[in-house]
Assembly symmetry: C2
Homo-oligomer: 389 residues x 2
């Protein structure tokens, strides 16, 4: 609890710590002595102030950033994005590693994550053993509590405990969550959701993700997998989705769905590499190629329909569309938002705010790192001598 | 608070009341004396027990059922259903009054509700002035907190404070809510939801309604209108809905939608009265008329799709399908539930329970009465001399 208060305040003298927590000064002194001895916090001289003049120089306590180090990792379709944070949450390094497209066996993906994480820590002359935890965000149906991945477009296996596989492969405690949940957590912690207790984050890139914050917490549902949006159905017996079902929203708005349609009408030359096909289609749509516009605009209308359904069902304060610039532009964001507004139940009150937050994979990785940091804080407070496995 | 505790216990002696509330015996005695004087509670001799033998006969306190009387009213497409409860929640009378189909001006509907409510209280020789409150459930988009009906299939007007209109027309305080929310409340209070903190009630009859209970409370969303299901879209630019938009779930599964399709292929003779057309269609489907089956089965598949989306988004513990027997049978309920199960994201855990709760309009009316009773309890506790307006 003291550790958490110190973290919250940044820097705080012992006497204030006693006041805000209601713990006696003597006890605060004893516990902080332990925390200092274990290297979790440090003393820093207080800036010159009134206290000095009274002849009693005081010290502030702060988290010792060097006590622990965590990595946040976002696995996307064609890359692994990583960020390294110290125990204070200060960024130490970042890295983006390209990866071949497509689902992989879990052992292969774990190995890729290990290689990428090693490259990350090497940037500051460290090794994997110096990490106290890694947070990993993955698209798909993930039970964060027990570490199970039920299904992910990044994995060939399903219903596996990928958290344990990662922990073993890297020799570092791993914490797993759905990637959109981690974006929602990032928005809540240091993004546009800081002032809101209830909001929805929708991400669209190679897939469509959603994170719901209700009452300041990630909504996870009864079975722990949280809210699924990309595989809600927008058309009975509709287009084939990579999840194996028909008519999912993703099967109309995700990159692969657009590329699939574009290829079928010859809009994309066969020699364009897979990872650049979406760009070719979007460029054609922007240049006014009629067939390309048709494809992209239907995707936008389907996305608007999905958003309108979320508004009808949840009536949230705020919807944050998060993801990279290009990904939203291609759906003509303003048209989508307008179409959403006309498709919701019309009442005599303003519809929820929809804001677009263009941040890249590294911010997702930061959300993952913040997620891991929470666990490491908790564990450090319980057992200060806790080290990487 | 004492009143609420007495209600919760049914019967309770003063000394226990002091214990469970932590209020001193002296204060309990003073306050309960006031409640007795105001006729809100009564004393009843305790059943023979150990106390008697010690020579000190004690009395229990209980709510005085005769202190107040409330009516619960459900407005449906072709009828008004009413239930009369006393202050204890005991049923005094019930009534079902037929009504001509279709949206009405708010003054006309208020007048119909007044006439029906008068007929109800007359059943036990009372008048409207004897009512302390009426609870009214209405299909559509209703803000329960401020009494606004933004849109209802029963009303020609939109964005009006129908609660105030009702209160004035009847001269009785009215409490308004979306009808499906009242069913959810009924399920929570005395139905299948008693043991569950999180569940969804879906109703299907002339329209499709939904009530969501999260954390033991009705989920109402940011703008107060709660969760909307019937007008979520299941088809881009789909069938025309009576709300004026296209592709709503209701436009595929509600009575009017089925009758509309049946009429267009000549399945229903022009001389069949409007209110019997759905029965004609359902009978034909049951008898195996191919076109009738086609119509009804697509409705079932669309309903399954909508349910699957709810499961994907909310991952609830339990879904209760509530409504009258016929209404569910016609969608081949087991087939619908099976189709829902194959359309949700498949994980290695059992899907949520789906139970069908066949109860009629009178149980909805009971939910409405319970809703009104809550307000009357609260007001009586604040101002024991509160009377009908």
């Amino acid at each position: 609890m003291l550790l958490r208060e110190i973290e919250r305040h940044g820097r705080i003298p012992r006497i204030d710590l006693s006041e805000v927590t209601g713990i006696s000064r003597a006890t605060v002194t004893t516990i902080t002595a332990d925390l200092l001895r274990d290297g979790l916090i440090q003393e820093i001289p207080r800036e010159a102030d009134a206290d000095m003049r009274r002849g009693r120089p005081r010290v502030d306590l702060k988290i010792d950033g060097s006590a622990h180090m965590v990595a946040g990792i976002k696995v996307s379709d064609t890359s692994i994005s990583l960020m390294l944070l110290d125990f204070e949450g200060t960024q130490l390094a970042e890295l983006e590693v390209p990866m071949d497209k497509g689902a992989k066996p879990s052992a292969v993906l774990a190995e890729r994550i290990k290689e990428a994480t090693t490259s990350l820590v090497v940037l500051i002359g460290k090794s994997l053993a110096d990490l106290s935890g890694i947070g990993v965000g993955l698209a798909g149906v993930v039970d964060a509590q027990n570490g199970t991945v039920y299904w992910s477009p990044s994995l060939q296996d399903s219903n596996i405990n990928f958290r344990d596989i990662l922990s073993e492969t890297l020799g570092v405690p791993a914490y797993l969550d759905n990637d959109a949940n981690l974006v929602a957590m990032a928005e809540k912690t240091f993004g546009l959701g800081r002032e809101h207790s209830d909001f929805i984050v929708v991400t669209i890139e190679s897939g469509v993700g959603m994170g719901i914050v209700l009452n300041n917490q990630i909504y996870r549902g009864t079975r722990g997998c949280g809210a699924e949006f990309g595989h809600t159905k927008v058309q009975l017996e509709g287009a084939m989705c990579r999840c194996g079902q028909r008519g999912c929203l993703e099967a109309y708005v995700a990159d692969y769905a657009l590329v699939r349609e574009a290829a079928s009408v010859g809009l994309i030359d066969a020699d364009v590499p897979a990872e650049h096909r979406i760009e070719v289609l979007l460029a054609a749509a922007k240049n006014g190629t009629p067939m390309a516009k048709k494809i992209v605009q239907r995707a936008g209308r389907m996305f608007a329909l999905g958003l309108a359904n979320l508004v009808n069902i949840f009536d949230p304060e705020l919807i944050i569309l998060s993801g990279e610039q290009m990904q939203f532009d291609h759906l003509f964001a303003q048209e989508v938002i307008e179409a959403m507004r006309t498709s919701i139940v019309q009442i005599d009150k303003a519809p929820p705010d929809v804001v677009i937050h263009k941040w890249g994979n590294l911010m997702w990785a930061r959300g993952a790192a913040a997620y891991a940091l929470d666990f490491v804080h908790e564990m450090a407070a319980k057992d200060p001598n806790h080290d990487a496995v």
